[in-house]
């Protein structure tokens, strides 16, 4: 199945802004992060189809995965 992965800010060093990838049925958010070699996960925020998602969440064909991290200073 195919999912679209969008990287923002700090995560752009792992790939282009937008990529379509082919993954196995039943793949999770974590599998996608592994595919991109993303190891910085302490404060990572992942949205699947615009909603907050977790590492173990299973993906479906056509899902859009957005990856970024929050900043909090003022």
């Amino acid at each position: 199945m195919n999912v679209k992965v969008k990287l923002y800010g700090d995560y752009l060093k792992y790939g282009p802004e937008e990529t379509y990838i082919d993954i196995e049925e039943g793949s999770t958010v974590e599998d996608v992060l592994n595919r991109f070699g993303i190891k910085e996960r302490k404060y990572i925020i992942v949205l699947v189809n615009l909603k907050r998602a977790w590492f173990e969440d299973k993906l479906n064909d056509g899902d859009v995965v957005s990856v970024f991290s929050p900043v909090g200073g003022g």
């Binding site: 800010g9 925020i45 615009l50 970024f68 900043v71 909090g72 200073g73 003022g74």
Partner: protein, 253 residues
């Protein structure tokens, strides 16, 4: 009604067809509470005061130190050791004597204190520098049904979002609150990453602009959207967001 001085002072923005005299009166009749008078708070307060927002509240418990001056453009060396809110109030009143400014020289840590202060204003700006206060503000703003304009920064990165309670995603929908120790650690790490003045300048200005558009009822707002500004690459990304129907803050209150 606008006075002769006000008509002259705001002439250049009244000329914008989407503002006009009618819009300027809307700004005059508006009010907002700016929480945090630091890096983000500086441009926010300066631009809202100069634009003629009629009543501005400022909350901060800090005093000015020399380490603030790389980015907190409201202050200078004469202000070191003085309460930020008092200096900020004096400066923006001098910038625009037509507006009313209320200073709250306190840290926002207690829910009850937050409730009492936030209730006095119809819109809230979060320009704070720590996650605990950010979640407190989000909770109280959602509960009091006040629109919340959030700015956040780190290094060369700025983030802005607008929360209209019960209509758009709130802070907690996107960044669910975690235990106090984790929030404290996040804040510490964010501080250690550092910050440059230009990042707070750009980000704070966008926050102020969102509030002005909201008040004037013009343009489009960052509702259900998170804007990420990267000063290193000049990229402005907008991530679409959706409310979490199970959000522990905005789906319950």
């Amino acid at each position: 009604m606008l006075s002769k001085d006000e008509l002259e002072r705001y002439d250049r923005q009244i000329r914008i067809d989407k503002i006009g005299i009618e819009g300027q009166i809307k700004l005059k009749n508006s009010n907002v509470l700016v929480i945090g008078a630091g890096g983000l708070g500086s441009p926010i307060l300066l631009y809202l005061a100069s634009a003629g927002v009629g009543r501005i509240g400022i909350v901060d418990g800090d005093v000015v130190s020399v380490g603030n001056l790389n980015r907190q453009i409201l202050y200078n060396i004469d202000d070191i050791g003085k309460a930020k809110v008092l200096v900020a109030k004096e400066k923006i009143e001098k910038l625009n004597p037509n507006i009313a400014v209320e200073a709250y020289n306190t840290w926002l840590t207690e829910e009850e204190t937050a409730r009492i202060i936030l209730r006095k204003f119809t819109a809230i700006i979060d320009a704070t520098d720590n996650y605990e206060t950010r979640y407190l503000i989000n909770r109280v703003a959602v509960h009091l049904n006040r629109p919340l304009f959030i700015g956040a920064v780190g290094r060369f990165v700025g983030q802005v979002m607008v929360v209209i309670p019960h209509e758009t995603a709130c802070l907690n929908c996107i960044f669910p609150e975690r235990e106090k120790q984790i929030l404290f650690k996040l804040t510490e790490e964010n501080r250690n990453q550092g910050i440059i003045g230009t990042t707070v300048g750009v980000t704070g200005t966008i926050v102020a602009n969102e509030f002005l558009k909201y008040t004037l009822g013009i343009g489009s707002l960052l509702k259900n959207k998170l804007l990420i500004f990267d000063g290193l690459t000049n990229e402005f990304s907008i991530i679409s967001l959706e409310r979490d129907p199970n959000c522990k803050i905005c789906s319950i209150i």
